[in-house]
Structure formats: C-alpha cells, structure tokens
C-alpha cells in the first residue's frame, strides 16, 4: 500500500485558494501514525469548517485510532477553488493527517448528514479516483461504508456503497474493521467479504438485496436477515466522552467543546426523524458530564463548552450540571451553552443560569403557528408557553431571539400559515412589553420558516410534500404579511426542499439521478448560493424520473416503502398509529417523563431508558 504524502504538491496550491488553513492539518490533538497496518479515511462530504465539528466523525476517529494496528484520518471536501486546483494539477482527494490519496486507504467511511450531501459524495469519490459505483470496484479499491442519518433510507445512495452501518457506530465500527482485516489477510473474493459484513447485526449490504415482484427489497440468500435493525449503544451512560478533541486552526461552524450529555428524545414530534431513530433516551450522569467538560476544556483551550443533545434542557439533572459548571469555571471567561431552549419557563430559567451578562440570543422552535397544527405534529407546547417564555427571557435581559417554524406540514391550511405571522407578532409584543420603554428599540426577533420534508422512519413518512407551486403560494402568504420593524422573517429555498424530499423518500432508482445531477454540475447543494435546481431537472429528464411525483407521492399505510427493510427499532404499527392520531389531532406524551407509550424500541432492541437522576419533570 502506497503511503506517500502529497503535501509537497499540495502546499504550492495554497497561496491561490481561500482559507488555506482548511487543508494544513496538524491541529492540536490531531493524531498521526506514520506506519500502521490498516488505514481508515473518515469523510464528511462538505468543507472542513462544516464537517470538523461533526461528533460522529470525532467519536469514530478516537475509537479507530485506539484500535491496535489501525489509524483514522479525516477527509473533507475541498472548497470549489481547491477542487479546481487539484484537478488542474491531476491531484486526488487527500486525507488531512497523512496527506495521502484517499483511494489508498483500506476503508472509506462516509457520513450521510442530510440529503443535500448526495452530489458531494459523487464529487468526493470522483476526485479520489475511486469508481463511483460499488459494483465497479475491485481489489485495489477501498471498502466504502456509509452511516449517519440518511442511512435510515439508504437506497437513493446505495449505488455508491458496499455497505451501510445502521444506527450508533461505537461498537459496530470495530466489528466491521475486524471482518475486513480478516478477509484482507485471507485473499478471498469480494463476494465473501460482502457476505461476512452482512452477517454483522446492523450492517446492510445493498448488493445482497434485490426487489421482489412488489418492489420490496429482499435478501438474495436465506441466511440473510429480511430486515436490518439499527445498533444501539446500550451503555451510552458509561461510555467515555471524547477525551482529547481536535482543536481547529480554521474557524469551524461550532468552534467549541461539545459534550454529548444525553442521547435520544422521545417528545415524539411526528415530523422528526432524529426523535424516532435515537430512541430510547439515555443520559450521562452529572458527575461524568462535569468531569468531561472540565477535562475537555483543559486539554483543548476552548472558551466555550456546549452541552449537546436533541433536547439538553430535558436532562434530569440539568440544573445541577449547569450550577456545578458555573462554579468550576468561574473567572475563566468560559461560556456554557445549549443548542436550543425548551419552550417553557424552565427552559428560560436554565438558559439564564449560564448566560451571565452575555445574553446573545435564544432559540425557540414552536414549529407551527396554530394550536390545531401543533397538535397534529405532536409539538406539545401552547401559545401561552411561548409567550411566557419570551416575556421571561426579555425581562431577564435578552433583547433578541429566534423562532423556528415549518410550512407545508400535513393538514396545514392557509389560516395555519397566517397563524405563524400572528404568533410572531404576539411574541414580539410580549417581548416589547417585558422590556423597559427606553430599550424597546433594541428588541429583535428573527423568524425562520423551513419547508416540511417527509422523512423515512417517522409517522409522517407516508405523507407527500406539497407541489412546489403550492409551497411558493404559501410562502407568498408569509411574504405579504405586514410585520413591525424588528421582526425579520426568512424562509428556506423551496426548490432545494424538493430535492431533499425526493432523496428522503425515494428508492434505489435514484442512484443514477444523483450521478447525472452531479455530472450536470450539482455540488455543495446545501450551500444556498451554490444550489441550482437546473442540474437536477436535467438529470430527471435524462433518467426518466418524475421528481414531483416522487416528492408528492402519498404512500398507503400498507405500502411497501423503499426503506421497509431497514428498522430503527420503532414498530411500524406505532408509526401508523401516530399518523392516524395526527389526522385526528390527538397528541401523544413523552415516555421519558411518564409511562411507556408503546413505540417498541426498548423491547425490540433490548435497550431501556436511562435517566441519571432517576426521573424527569
């Protein structure tokens, strides 16, 4: 295996590109091994500053580097100027640590963070000189494995991948590596490798599944599982946090120490994929969180620690954690943050506890404007909750906040869209009221409206997306609204959300579409200034795919879904029941605050809820 560093040829390109610090590696706590038997490249399919904060990559990086004889190197997609320079010089995509061609590694692991990363996967493989199609790869090519949120509907991406790791990767990664190393030492044919990989629980090998007459993907051999269930890390609470995080030179999007304080959220929002796929809720203890934060700050030099999770204020010991961190970090100019606030008095009280003098901004996500629609999506907050939280925050000294909403949700009517404007106005008035008269001019509220994307493995997986023209009409309702100065209303590009919906709920037939769109020039689709619908429309014509039909299709409840052979552990019957509950505007409670609501995860995966403080609420 060649391990030549490309650095001498890369460095002369740096004077001609933006932000050369993206490419230099050697950050504090980065790990290097000149010689090791087995090399893994971990690719995040976007730029350094977007991908470096990714926690999945950080966890795998540490675990693999700790394995005997293995090393992990990071790979990010260079920005367009650097891609052009590399292609011009005939240089391939390279790993950061060793500055080696990505094609020289043994295993290439690719994170699939969201649907719009699809074209970047094509770009990355092509730049690496690795055949795009898994079926075309030979003995000299790395094993290419995908994981992350989009692996819950892997089919649109399946042409690129030899296998997918479904669910939490902490234990899975070493099992995959062990199988691969064993196979490498024996010189068996590639088919044998695929079979051995497919025997690992949580690994899906697309080449070993083919559609039956109903379109259901079925194993081609009797000894393969009909359905692949996600892996879940049973002892998350005791599993160590990242010991020595890499400290970037370049400014990353979330440039701070991240401590994952809990995993999972069972509030049960019906549009939310993470809420279904990370169940059950498991918390780390206050002791281990405080110790990890103090030790992580010491060995990184960061001036901010974020307590991350899907809903950090829900941690049963959150108040204790924040008070202890405040005491321990006093006088060091370190700030403690939580990504978003629970929409109630307690949420604001917790934010107040760590904000100190610095009250930069708060983020609330009511998601829908009317109570009717909030009941449909199971967002269990009321208008009073929001208005009280806002009043409390602005009384406490905050002067700006962000509100997140969605449009195009199942069951949405025009009055629900108009209710977004109403609610924003009421929240703004509540903020005004709470602030001394002389300071009212400082009150700012930003209202972001995203377009609903139906996601696999959620109660809304059967629902279609609205036609683009209809979404645009509803955006028009928002646009027409008269808002006071101080409210800034913005919305996501509906065109990009069409592509997200297609890739979120389509099947295997979409592989060629992604490749054609990339050939037509699509890449960095998650960057609004880089995104263009044109390459996708042209690709759809070339491949004979009807994008609108794919995004808008309503699946019958008993339909075979393109992801039916993949399970996050939640029973299909539970998702169906939740979809019917939505239609009748019935809400479902959060099992981590009360009793089991029967989603099936704990039973199916032999896992259980773990609350560090014994109980919540």
């Amino acid at each position: 295996m060649s391990t030549t560093s490309l650095w001498d040829r890369i460095e002369p390109l740096l004077a001609g590109v933006e932000q050369p610090s993206r490419y230099i590696n050697h950050e504090y706590n980065a790990r290097h091994s000149a010689d090791c038997a087995y090399r893994v490249a971990l690719l995040y399919p976007d730029t350094y500053e977007v991908g470096q904060p990714n926690q999945a990559i950080a966890i795998l990086y540490q675990l693999i580097n700790d394995l005997e004889g293995c090393c992990a190197e990071r790979v990010f997609l260079p920005w367009v100027d650097m891609i052009a320079a590399l292609r011009q010089q005939g240089l391939p995509l390279f790993t950061l640590e060793g500055c080696r061609p990505v094609g020289d590694c043994d295993l290439l692991g690719i994170t699939l963070p969201h649907e719009l990363a699809a074209s970047n996967i094509s770009e990355a493989l092509d730049l690496a000189g690795i055949p795009l199609l898994a079926a075309q790869r030979g003995a000299g090519d790395p094993l290419v494995i995908g994981g992350g949120p989009c692996a819950y509907n892997p089919e649109p991406f399946s042409v690129f991948f030899d296998a997918f790791a479904i669910g939490e990767g902490e234990e899975l990664i070493s099992e995959i590596i062990a199988v691969h190393r064993g196979w490498l030492s024996e010189g068996q044919p590639r088919e044998e490798l695929l079979l051995r990989l497919a025997a690992i629980p949580g690994v899906y090998v697309p080449a070993l599944y083919s559609p039956d007459s109903n379109g259901a993907l079925c194993p081609i051999r009797a000894d393969l599982p009909a359905q692949i269930s996600k892996r879940v890390l049973a002892d998350f609470a005791d599993f160590p946090s990242i010991a020595a995080p890499i400290v970037p030179f370049a400014e990353a999007t979330h440039d701070r120490l991240n401590i994952e304080i809990l995993r999972g959220c069972s509030r049960g929002c019906r549009f939310c994929q993470a809420g279904m796929t990370y169940r059950p809720v498991r918390e780390r203890s206050a002791d281990s969180i405080v110790a990890a934060a103090v030790q992580g700050l010491r060995c990184s030099g960061y001036d901010e620690v974020a307590l991350t999770s899907l809903s950090s204020t829900d941690h049963s010991q959150i108040e204790q954690i924040l008070r202890r961190l405040n005491a321990q970090l006093h006088g060091q100019a370190v700030s403690v943050s939580m990504p978003s606030q629970r929409l109630d008095a307690f949420g604001v009280a917790m934010a107040q506890l760590v904000a100190g003098e610095k009250k930069a901004g708060l983020t609330f996500a009511p998601e829908a404007g009317s109570q009717r629609l909030r009941d449909i999506i199971n967002k269990n907050v009321t208008e009073d909750d929001l208005l009280q939280a806002v009043a409390q925050a602005f009384t406490a000294g905050w002067r700006r906040c962000k509100l997140y909403f969605m449009i195009g949700l199942p069951g949405e009517r025009d009055e629900d869209v108009e209710a977004i404007v109403d609610l924003a106005n009421k929240a703004f008035a509540a903020a005004h009221q709470a602030v001394p008269e002389a300071q009212r001019g400082q009150v700012r509220m930003s209202v972001s409206v995203a377009v609903f994307i139906p996601k696999a493995q959620t109660p809304f997986q059967w629902a279609g997306q609205l036609p683009l023209s209809e979404i645009e009409r509803r955006v028009g309702l928002l646009r027409a609204a008269v808002l006071p100065r101080g409210i800034n209303l913005n919305w996501h590009d509906p065109a990009a959300s069409l592509i997200e919906a297609v890739l979120s709920r389509g099947g295997r037939e979409l592989g060629p579409l992604i490749i054609e769109a990339w050939r037509n020039g699509a890449r960095f689709d998650a960057w609004s200034e880089q995104f263009s619908l044109e390459p996708w429309l042209a690709a759809a014509r070339q491949c004979g795919i009807d994008l609108d039909a794919c995004a808008q299709r309503e699946y019958p409840l008993d339909a075979v879904l393109p992801w039916s052979h993949i399970s996050c552990g939640v029973d299909a019957g539970y998702l169906q029941a939740e979809y019917l509950q939505a239609r009748s505007q019935q809400t479902t409670a959060d099992c981590s605050f009360g009793s089991c609501t029967g989603c099936g995860v704990c039973n199916n995966l032999a896992a259980r809820i773990e609350l560090a403080g014994g109980q919540r609420g």
């Binding site: 650095w7 001498d8 460095e11 002369p12 740096l14 004077a15 932000q19 050369p20 610090s21 490419y23 230099i24 590696n25 050697h26 950050e27 504090y28 400290v247 030179f249 370049a250 400014e251 700050l297 010491r298 060995c299 990184s300 030099g301 960061y302 001036d303 006088g331 060091q332 100019a333 100190g356 003098e357 610095k358």
Partner: protein, 257 residues
C-alpha cells in the same frame, strides 16, 4: 479593580504549516495555548468576558515569522521560565514560543511600538537557460517548507546562478519603484496610498533568488511584501515567490551592517 496585574510578553516563531493561518486564526491559537498552559490570565469585566490579550502587527497568510509577539495580562506573577515551559508544552504545531519577559503595564501596545519589520523573500529559482528570468507558471518542484531555513534556497541556487543578471534586474526594479515614491493599493473596494519613503527603509536583492525588505508600518498599517514586489517587478520580470519570512519585528529601527 484593586488587583495587581502582570504583563507577560511572549515571543514565538510561526512557521511550517502554521504560516498559512490568518491573523485571527493565529490569535485564537495563541489564546488557546495560554488556556491549555493554565497561566493565571486576567479577563475583561462585564458584558462578554474574555482573556486580556494583545497582539503585534498581523502576519500575512502564507508568511512565516521568526520574532512574533503577544502580551497577556496575568493575575499572578509566574516566573518567566515556568511560563515559557508551560507554553512550550502546550503550543500547537508550527508555533514555537522561545522567550517570555515582563513588560511595564504602561508601555504602549505592540501594534504601536513594534513597527519595524524585516522580511526575507525567497523566489523560485530561475528556470534553467532562461537567462535569469523565471517563469511564474513553473510552480512545480517546490520544496517542502518544513526544515528549510530562510537561506536554504539562495545557498543552493547561487552555485549555478547564471551570473547575477537577475539580481541586478530585481535591484534596479526595486529602486525604480522607490523613486516613484507612492504605492496605491486597492483592497475590498477601499484605496490605500502608501508613502514609500516612510514605509520602506531598505530594499535589496541579496542574490538572484532572495530579496530583503525592511518596512516601517505607519497609520495605514504595513505593506504586504508580495504586493510591493508585484508592483516593482510587474512588467519587467516574471518571478514567483516561494516563501516569505518576517525575520525581525522590533520597536527599534533596523541598522544596516
């Protein structure tokens, strides 16, 4: 505030790959080094507390620095050897703290005092047979920055230099620019006019592939050496810069030997 503070000045080198950092990235890397070293740093009071740290004049992206400095205010006295040892042990790759000293709290900041900058600019060696005029397009064959000292290139190149015709042409071009007296720079829509008599103390082609510039920064800030060079050589000579190093940064004027 009754507490007494100590102003620790840290001298460090920025080289190897770290020369590709921006000023902001360099500042952040230094601050994080101080935190990891667990020095008893002072913080600002009030709204958004942060470490009390001050930096010298910015070092451009791509430029190495041999005598960079920053000041950090400490709440407690730490002897300079322990401070230096702690910083060294926690320095990121490409950063090398080599000296610490205490400076009077009332002395003006580094930006205001350390205005004398001496640069060494290494050019790509002239392409063979081109009579001393190198092609800028020839970017191949570049040596790794690591390990090559500021003079490595000129020593190896001077052996087979085709006379010193290139050296003489560069020298003539530099002098001609200085005669003009001003340099106008457009950056991000704004225009800056530098008085070269004030801003450039010395400009000399040391040999075919090495240029020394001594600059003095003023109200306008300092000129980027590459810019000055581009302006001087624009239509006359094609040269490609291989490496720029700020070899001296001082509050004292440079004196020709």
């Amino acid at each position: 505030m009754a507490e007494s503070l100590f102003r620790l000045r840290v001298c460090y080198r920025r080289g190897d790959r770290a020369r590709w950092l921006s000023h902001l990235e360099t500042s952040r890397a230094n601050e994080r080094m101080v935190r990891r070293a667990a020095l008893p740093f002072a913080i600002t009071q009030g709204f958004s507390a942060h470490m009390r740290l001050a930096f010298g004049p910015a070092l451009a992206v791509g430029t190495a620095g041999e005598q960079e400095r920053f000041d950090v205010l400490l709440r407690e006295y730490v002897d300079v050897d322990s401070a230096l040892a702690a910083l060294k042990a926690n320095a990121p790759s490409g950063f090398e703290p080599y000296h610490c000293e205490y400076v009077d709290l009332h002395v003006k900041g580094l930006q205001a005092t350390h205005i004398h900058e001496q640069y060494l600019i290494e050019l790509q060696p002239a392409a063979e047979g081109s009579g001393g005029v190198a092609s800028a397009a020839d970017a191949g064959g570049v040596e790794a920055a690591a390990g090559s000292g500021p003079h490595a290139a000129c020593e190896s190149a001077s052996g087979e230099a085709p006379g010193n015709q290139r050296q003489a042409s560069i020298q003539a071009a530099l002098e001609q620019l200085l005669q003009v007296g001003t340099l106008t720079v457009q950056r991000k829509g704004r225009q800056k006019v530098y008085d070269l008599k004030q801003a450039v103390q010395w400009a000399e082609a040391l040999d075919d592939d090495t240029i020394m510039l001594v600059l003095v920064s003023g109200e306008q800030g300092s000129i980027r050496p590459e810019l000055l060079l581009r302006e001087a050589l624009a239509d006359r000579l094609e040269v490609a810069v291989r490496k720029v190093t700020r070899i001296r940064l001082s509050d004292q004027p440079w004196e020709p030997q």
